[in-house]
C-alpha cells in the first residue's frame, strides 16, 4: 500500500506528496524515477521523478506538476488515501564522483529530481553551484533545500517576478566563463536542457541531462521512450534517464513527445474540471 502521509500544494499546479514505499525508499538512488498507475483498468501509467526518500521511515517524496489527466487525478488524492500502484526505482542512478566544480541547473519541476543529485554531488566532495529557474515566482521550488547544500544558489524567473529576470542559460554562461566548472547537470523541460547544452558546449564542459519521455511499462518492454543518442537508439527507461547532453538528438526527442498530442488535448479538457472544483472547496 502506497499510502500518502503528507501533501502540500507548492503553487497552483505544483504538489509535493510523501507516501509509504519501503522498498523504493531503501533501494532508490539519485537520478532514478518511478511509474505510478492509479488502479482500475483504465488509468494511465506515468513516469515521475523522485525528489527525496527516507529509508528509515520507508517514505518517498515526489514533486509533480498537474499537467495531464493522470497528474490531475494524483493531485486529488489526500493523506490517508493510497496510490494504487507505484513501480520503482527505475532507470540508472546518476554517476556520482568527485569531479571538482559542479553546476546543477534545474528548470521548473526539474529542480525536484535535481535536488538528490546535487546533494550527492556535494557529499562526494564537489564544489557546488545551483541555478534554479522557472517561468514565474510561484513555480520556483526547492530553493530552501538547495540553500542547505550550496552557498551559491541562483534563482531566475522568465518574468522577473523573483530573483534574476533571466533564463537559466544566462548565469550558466557566466559561470562557465568565470568559474570554469568541471561538470554540469541540467534537468528541466527539453528545450531548456537543449539550450543548456548549447551554452556549455563552447567551454568544453561535460553536461548530463535527464530525459522524461513517453513511457508505458518503464521496464524496457515497450520501447516507446526511445531516443537517439549519438545516432544509436537507446531506451530512456533502462539505458537512461540520464545521458550525455551533447549526444542527444533533441529535435527528434521533442518531436516524439508530441506523438499523442491530439488525443492528450482532448483528455486534458475533461480532467481540469475536477481539480478546479477541489480548489474552490479548499
Amino acid at each position: 500500500m502506497f499510502t500518502i502521509v503528507d501533501k502540500r500544494k507548492m503553487s497552483p499546479e505544483v504538489f509535493r506528496m510523501v507516501f509509504t514505499a519501503p522498498y523504493i525508499a531503501r533501494s532508490r538512488k539519485p537520478g532514478q524515477f518511478i511509474i505510478i498507475q492509479q488502479g482500475g483498468d483504465y488509468s494511465e501509467r506515468i513516469p515521475l521523478t523522485i525528489a527525496d526518500a527516507d529509508a528509515e521511515k520507508g517514505t518517498v517524496t515526489i514533486i509533480f506538476q498537474a499537467v495531464g489527466a493522470a497528474t490531475h487525478q494524483l493531485a486529488l488524492l489526500d493523506p490517508g488515501e493510497a496510490i494504487a500502484n507505484v513501480l520503482g526505482p527505475l532507470g540508472q542512478p546518476t554517476h556520482i564522483e568527485k569531479f571538482g566544480k559542479v553546476i546543477c541547473v534545474g528548470g521548473g519541476i526539474g529542480a525536484a529530481p535535481l535536488h538528490p543529485i546535487a546533494q550527492a554531488m556535494a557529499q562526494a566532495g564537489n564544489e557546488l553551484k545551483v541555478i534554479v529557474g522557472a517561468r514565474t515566482k510561484d513555480l520556483i521550488i526547492m530553493e530552501e533545500e538547495m540553500n542547505k547544500i550550496s552557498d551559491d544558489v541562483i534563482i531566475c524567473t522568465d518574468d522577473g517576478s523573483y530573483g534574476r529576470k533571466a533564463l537559466v542559460t544566462e548565469p550558466l554562461k557566466e559561470l562557465c566563463e568565470q568559474w570554469k566548472p568541471d561538470m554540469v547537470v541540467a534537468i528541466g523541460p527539453p528545450i531548456m536542457m537543449k539550450f543548456c547544452t548549447q551554452t556549455t558546449k563552447p567551454f568544453g564542459v561535460p553536461i548530463i541531462v535527464s530525459l522524461n519521455t513517453i513511457m508505458v511499462d518503464g521496464t524496457g518492454m515497450c520501447g516507446g521512450c526511445r531516443v537517439s543518442i549519438n545516432g544509436k537508439t537507446k531506451f530512456v527507461c533502462v539505458d537512461g534517464p540520464e545521458f550525455d547532453g551533447y549526444a542527444v538528438d533533441w529535435e527528434n526527442m521533442m518531436m516524439r513527445l508530441g506523438t499523442f498530442k491530439t488525443q492528450e488535448q482532448k483528455a486534458h479538457h475533461h480532467c481540469h474540471i475536477g481539480l478546479n472544483i477541489k480548489e474552490g472547496e479548499a
Binding site: Y23, I24, S27, Q37, G39, D41, Y42, S43, E44, R45, A69, A70, A84, N85, V86, L87, G88, P89, L90, V216, D217, T219, G220, M221, C222, G223, G224, R226, V227, S228, T233, F235, V238, D249, E251, N252, M255, R256, G258, T259, F260, T262, Q263, E264, A267
Partner: protein, 503 residues
C-alpha cells in the same frame, strides 16, 4: 465460407445420431469430417474486441473426439511439450465425461483454457496425429486444441473448477519472478508441495504476455484472471509493482528477505527495431508498445482509457509471427482503413499460428510477402509517410533452416502509410543479469540453465520461459516452469535433510 454455430451444431447432431452406437471402426472414424470452429463473422468481429473463435458445441466436441483413433503409440503425446495424455482426455470427451477429461489434462498442464486457444497445435500434437497423416493433410488431424479448449471451458462454466490440493507447510519461502505462463506453472507446482510462494510482478496486473501481449479477441482476459484466482485460492501471494533487479535484487531476496529458492520467469525483454533510418519517427511503434497500450492499458476503449493510442489510417506491420498478426488485427479493430503485413519471406516460412493467419486474411489484412524494409520516410513534422522497401527472392536456407530472403537490386519501391508497427521479436532484458552477482547468461543475454532441471549457475536459483528460450510458446514456457518446480522441490527437500542432520 463459414457457417453459423447453429448450422454447425445441427450438422454435428446428425453425425452424432449416426455414429453414437458403439462399435465405430477406424474406417468410420476417418470418414467423420473435421468439425469447423464456430467463429464470429469477419465483418462483425473487426468492429469488436470479443473473442473470434466461439468454441465447439457439445455435439461438435463429441463428434470431433470420435475422430481420434486412440493409437497405441500415441504420436500426438510425443508432439506435446508437456506430454498431456491426449488419447486419454479425448476418449473421455467422446463419452461426454468432460469432468474426467479436464482432470486428465490438468495432470500435465496448468493452463488448458489458455493452451487450447494459443498453442500452435498444427506444429505440435496435431502435426504428428495419425488421422492427419492418413488424410495427408495436417488440417485434417484431430482438432486436439479445440477439444482441450472445450473441456477447459466446460469446467469454468460449470463452476466445478477445482483448487489443487496443497501439502502441509514446509516452512520454506520460495519466490517466482514474473507472472506469465512459466511462472504461473512453477508457482502452482511449488505451492502444491507446501512451500510459501510469493510471485513478483513488475506491472500492475499479473499474467505477463497473456495479459499485455495477446489480445482479448484471441484470449479473453477473464480466462487469465480465472487461472490467477486459482493460484490465489491455493495461497500463492502476488506482489505487484515489484521489479526484481530494481525494487530488490536477486541477491537481496536470497540473502536479506529469506527466500530459500527462486524461479526467474521474467519473460521476453526489449523489443527489436528494424535498425534502418527513420525508426524513431512519430508513428513507428514496437508491437510490444502497440499491444501493451491496447491490451494492458485498455486503450482500445477510447472513451474510458487514460492511455492514448495512435489514430491510424494506413498501417504497415513488419514481421510474420503471432505478434505481427495480433498487432495487425488490433489495428484493424481500432479503425484503420488498410492494414498490411509485410514479411521478407513467403507464407511458407511464416512462423505465425495457422489459424491466426487465416483469421487475419478473413478480416481483410493484406499480406505483402518478399518485401524487406530499407528506410522509414517522414514529413517535416517528423510523422511517418511511408516505408521504402525492396523486393526479395528466396535463397539458400539459413541457420534456422528457413530459406533466407535475397534482395533484388533495383526493385525498391515506397509503400505509403501513417503507422509502422515493428514485430520482429525481442532481445533479452539485461536488468536481472546486470544486477545479480553470479548469474550466468549466454551471448544473447539468455539465462543459462541445465536442460533437465532448469537450474542456473546460482544455487537455489532456477529459470525458464522466454528469459531462457528467447521467443518461445506458452506451452514450452509452462513445460520449463514445471521442470524447474520439480527440481526446486527436490533441491529444497535435500536442503532440509542437510539442515535436519546438522541440528
Amino acid at each position: 465460407m463459414s457457417h453459423t454455430i447453429e448450422q454447425l451444431d445441427a450438422e454435428a447432431s446428425v453425425l452424432l445420431a449416426k455414429y453414437s452406437s458403439n462399435g465405430l471402426k477406424n474406417k468410420d472414424r476417418l470418414a467423420i469430417p473435421v468439425q469447423e470452429m464456430p467463429s464470429q463473422a469477419p465483418e462483425i468481429r473487426v468492429n469488436n474486441m470479443e473473442e473470434v473463435a466461439l468454441g465447439y458445441t457439445e455435439a461438435q466436441v463429441i463428434v470431433e473426439s470420435m475422430r481420434c483413433l486412440q493409437c497405441a503409440t500415441a504420436p500426438c503425446v510425443d508432439g506435446c511439450p508437456v506430454r498431456i495424455d491426449i488419447p486419454g482426455f479425448i476418449a473421455l470427451a467422446a463419452k461426454g465425461d468432460f469432468a474426467r477429461s479436464i482432470a486428465t489434462i490438468k495432470d500435465s498442464s496448468m493452463l488448458p483454457s489458455v493452451c487450447g486457444r494459443v498453442c500452435p497445435q498444427e506444429s505440435q500434437c496435431q502435426l504428428t496425429c495419425t488421422v492427419g497423416k492418413v488424410h495427408k493433410n495436417v488440417d485434417k488431424a484431430v482438432a486436439i486444441g479445440r477439444i482441450e479448449r472445450y473441456v477447459a471451458d466446460w469446467e469454468a462454466n460449470h463452476g466445478t473448477r477445482s483448487i489443487p490440493p496443497v501439502l502441509s507447510s514446509t516452512g520454506k519461502k520460495v519466490g517466482v519472478i514474473g507472472s506469465g505462463p512459466a511462472s504461473m506453472t512453477a508457482a502452482a507446482d511449488l505451492r502444491r508441495a507446501g512451500h510459501e510462494v510469493v510471485m513478483f510482478e513488475a506491472l500492475h496486473k499479473a499474467g505477463g504476455v497473456l495479459v499485455y501481449g495477446i489480445p482479448e479477441f484471441r484470449l479473453p482476459k477473464r480466462i487469465v484472471e480465472e487461472e490467477l484466482h486459482t493460484l490465489s485460492d491455493m495461497g500463492v501471494k502476488i506482489e505487484y509493482n515489484f521489479l526484481v533487479g530494481r525494487t530488490a535484487t536477486i541477491n537481496d531476496l536470497m540473502e536479506r528477505e529469506g527466500f530459500s529458492a527462486l524461479f526467474i520467469g521474467s519473460g521476453a525483454g526489449l523489443p527489436n527495431f528494424l535498425n534502418i533510418p527513420g525508426e524513431n519517427l512519430i508513428g513507428v511503434f514496437s508491437a510490444n508498445e502497440y499491444l501493451t497500450r491496447s491490451n494492458l492499458m485498455k486503450a482500445y476503449d477510447k472513451a474510458k482509457a487514460g492511455t492514448p493510442l495512435f489514430d491510424s489510417k494506413k498501417v504497415l506491420v513488419f514481421g510474420g509471427g503471432n505478434v505481427a498478426m495480433d498487432a495487425a488485427r488490433t489495428a484493424k479493430r481500432l479503425g484503420a482503413d488498410e492494414v498490411n503485413i509485410v514479411y521478407r519471406r513467403t507464407s511458407e516460412e511464416m512462423p505465425a499460428r495457422r489459424e491466426e493467419v487465416v483469421h487475419a486474411h478473413e478480416e481483410g489484412i493484406i499480406f505483402k510477402y518478399l518485401h524487406a524494409p530499407k528506410e522509414i520516410l517522414g514529413d517535416d513534422k517528423g510523422r511517418v509517410t511511408g516505408v521504402k522497401v525492396i523486393l526479395c527472392e528466396l535463397g539458400a536456407p539459413d541457420s534456422s533452416g528457413r530459406r533466407s530472403p535475397v534482395e533484388i537490386p533495383g526493385s525498391e519501391q515506397v509503400l505509403s502509410c501513417d503507422t509502422v508497427i515493428v514485430a520482429i521479436g525481442n532481445s533479452s532484458n539485461p536488468l536481472i543479469e546486470k544486477t545479480t552477482k553470479g548469474l550466468k547468461v549466454d551471448r544473447k543475454g539468455h539465462i543459462v540453465v541445465d536442460e533437465e532441471t532448469c537450474a542456473t549457475s546460482m544455487p537455489g536459483v532456477y529459470a525458464g520461459g522466454d528469459i531462457v528460450l528467447g521467443s518461445a510458446t506458452v506451452i514450452l514456457a509452462m513445460g520449463q516452469g514445471r521442470k524447474a518446480a520439480k527440481a526446486m522441490n527436490e533441491y529444497l527437500l535435500a536442503q532440509e535433510k542437510v539442515g535436519g542432520s546438522a541440528t
